[in-house]
Amino acid sequence: MGYAGLLLEVADAERSARFYGDVLGLKGDGETAEGARFRIGTSVVTLCQRAQPKVLPESGAHLAFRLPAAELDNGLGRLAKAGVDVHDYREDRLVERDHNRYFADPDGNRLQLVVGHSAGIDHAAIETHDLEWAESFYTHVLGGAVETRVGWRMEDYAKAKAWGEGSEACAPGTRRWDKLYSATIDPDRHVARPNAHIFVTLGPDTVVGVYLATEHRQEPPPDQFVGTPRICLRTSRLAELEERLRDIRLRCLQDSPQTGGPFERRGSALFARDPGGNFLELTTE
């Protein structure tokens, strides 16, 4: 399984096209019914214009592009010239420790540049209200394997404590301040905690990050299967995935009257949503 593309929501398509094309250096790849398309490696990024784009700058949600080292330097140069603030954070995920640069597009979509052997989409990180359901979906249904787990270990707490004391800068969504369960006794007491998240490998160079949402957000209606923002995954095992979507009955997913399973079909592609309401497109193309 690999990244076919990502669809992002933006408020001003022209402004965003300048950012993704001129500043970030992605190659224009024409217009689709959903918006302007840009190419990076073998994947595409489509900018979908919305009056109120769904953007979660304070959550763990972000999109990471992988660039060879030389291209990364050029990209960082263009970002600096455009006056875009770029941040280095302390990373939990081993492969992101040495090279990670975070910044935001004009709408606040958080983006990341990482170093890799070739240009492409490195990972998409989304949020969910229930990590256990999310893990079941991305591993048992989509067939992925958990690569990194943050928030299950004592050492994660120690790192959160260091963040709380101001000694470690961490990416948004990776740490949080919790009120204590005993807050009725002492309402002002808070504790720094890791915000649990996992990275799941779905295929070579194809990783999805799933972060626990710290606030409830409006999810799309349960019977909506096609929407944006959306992750598009390319697979040669589409028929097998369709069978698994039908057979592994996660009770948090609603079936579509169109297919009788928790997905809909448009042409040869399958459209589904994960248990957190994140839209997915599964395609052979």
Binding site: D130, W152, R153, M154, Y157, R193, E215, H216
Partner: protein, 152 residues
Amino acid sequence: MAHVESISHSGINVADLKDAEEFYADILGAGITNRVNFNTDDARRGRSVHTSVKMADWLFALALPRGEMPMPAADALRGTNGFRHGFHVSRERFGQVIARLRARTVPFDGPVSHPEKGPLGESVYFKDPGGNFIEVCWRRDQVTVTDGLDNG
């Protein structure tokens, strides 16, 4: 004086929740009841990070401590690190516990025979992955209540 009637539950601090869940399920047959603070509701309420497991009819919370937890010496197998939990099983299951410890190459001390006139038959001593001391024994004086109970 108010006499307590039973243990409601016990909290065990562990260093790694996934490792602990797997260990307690595989060695002691624990059944996972629920995991706490991996959904938004729990996070907003500030609940502790823990997994509730059921062993026989008792509930244990495998919990992540908020700070560093003192660890006993690596070669210490029998002792206390603040406390030790002792579980009793039937004599037949006692052998199964030892077999599981051997299969997982978990270091243990025992089986240690107790005096013949005492209530305990034999004990085996080991630690969980978080350094918590555990004793498993069989008793001469009673049929264990774990027989026939489903931990799931």
